[in-house]
């Protein structure tokens, strides 16, 4: 049973072979992660849920074609990122806006105004690229190599980009203090 995230290569293999229980466990753990990722990128709650649902469908449809079960996590986040890019194309949105109170649930507004207000505001002011990089590295704790696979850049370029994104977040955070 895939009660851990990320699933082991064996679990990925079982899911790819059609084990519905393993697949269900993978989705149950992965879905909230993608919702959070999209919320962090500025989508409204219902948009994040809908788009994460599309990711779940893509994972089910595409898992049997994954060549390296060990690379599941990078593949999973690539799927999530591609859906996000497609979403933006559909909406013809070229600029990101910070997560605003209008797009949040009431309980989120209260929470953001309190404990997480400063980090939410600083993170929301970053560019979309910086937000994705920091999320994958600091929140999902992916390796530089995995992130390089996802963003289709070299590991060196990814490492530099993440370092700069960290610095920008730190600067913004201090400015808001």
């Amino acid at each position: 049973m895939a009660s851990q995230w990320p699933p082991t290569p064996q679990q990925v293999g079982e899911g790819a072979a059609g084990d519905r229980q393993v697949m269900s466990d993978i989705l149950t753990l992965g879905y909230p992660k993608v919702v959070a990722f999209y919320r962090g990128l500025g989508l409204a709650y219902h948009e994040a849920q809908d788009l994460a649902g599309d990711v779940a469908v893509s994972v089910v449809e595409g898992l049997s074609r994954i060549r390296q079960p060990a690379a599941f996590e990078a593949w999973f986040w690539s799927v999530a990122r591609n859906h996000f890019k497609a979403f933006l194309r559909r909406r013809r949105r070229v600029a990101f806006e910070p997560v605003t109170p209008e797009s949040m649930r009431p309980d989120e507004v209260l929470m953001t105004a309190g404990e997480h207000g400063q980090i939410a505001a600083a993170f929301g002011l970053l560019s979309p690229k910086d937000r994705q990089l920091l999320w994958l590295r600091e929140v999902e704790e992916l390796s530089h190599d995995q992130i390089a696979d996802i963003t289709q850049q070299t590991a060196g370029a990814t490492r530099v980009a993440i370092h700069r994104a960290r610095q920008r977040l730190s600067d913004l955070y201090q400015q808001l203090e």
């Binding site: 059609g18 519905r20 989705l27 909230p32 649902g53 600091e138 730190s170």
Partner: protein, 218 residues
């Protein structure tokens, strides 16, 4: 700097708090698209292609109907699509879908229809005939739906103790509401013997669609 990223992780964690019901529904919908294993796929490919060509025109209609609730023109198409999916071996989570529809109907003010759908959602997990047929206010309906959600969520986990516990809470609350409604509305007496209602066996999910139509008509 480490505090900064610790704050970011806590913030991220708060953004990932998703209702179990929402997660179950997304998971069930995704699993409904799970491809047939390869060995069958190769044999069935020509047949599947022919079927796909013949149904492609209807597919969009069924997809559109998926979000319909009882009373909508497309609802019967939604249910027919589910029955066909069941027949083809899909294990889509109709329980969760019925419950979501129940919430939607309750929000539209149809308390009786909402309870009928909740009864379907609970079919086979809980003695659904214990639910009152009619309640006097939205608050009671909302309370029963929340407790029904707990039963369905517990059923998803496969934990029989949790199912029993959640069912116990639902049964108690349903009894309280039924008792409260008796003195004020003697007409409810006719509805109380739920075992006389059509389709009250609750042995199979496949029976649920028929029950729901009867409930709606009632």
């Amino acid at each position: 700097m480490s505090d900064l990223f610790e704050n970011l992780r806590r913030y991220a964690s708060s953004l990932g708090e998703v209702d179990d019901l929402v997660t179950h529904r997304a998971t069930a919908r995704a699993l409904a698209t799970q491809p047939v294993p390869h060995r069958w796929r190769s044999r069935l490919a020509p047949v599947a292609a022919a079927v796909a060509l013949s149904v492609v025109g209807n597919a969009a209609l069924v997809m559109t109907a998926d979000s319909a609730v009882p009373g909508d023109l497309l609802y019967s198409i939604d249910r027919a699509g589910e029955e066909i999916a069941d027949w083809l071996g899909s294990e889509a989570d109709h329980r969760t879908e019925r419950l979501v529809e129940a919430y939607e109907l309750a929000a539209l003010g149809d308390q009786e229809g909402a309870l009928a759908l909740a009864r379907e959602a609970l079919s086979g997990v809980f003695e659904e005939t214990n639910l009152p047929v009619v309640v006097s206010n939205e608050k009671d309906t909302g309370l029963l739906l929340e407790l029904a959600k707990d039963v369905v969520t517990a059923a998803h986990t496969g934990d029989s103790d949790a199912v029993q516990e959640a069912a116990h809470r639902l049964r108690d609350q349903a009894q309280v509401i039924a008792d409260q409604s008796k003195p004020d509305n003697p007409g409810n007496q006719d509805n109380t013997p739920a075992d006389t209602r059509p389709g009250g066996d609750g042995d199979s999910n496949n029976n649920s669609s028929g029950n729901g139509d009867k409930d709606k008509d009632k």
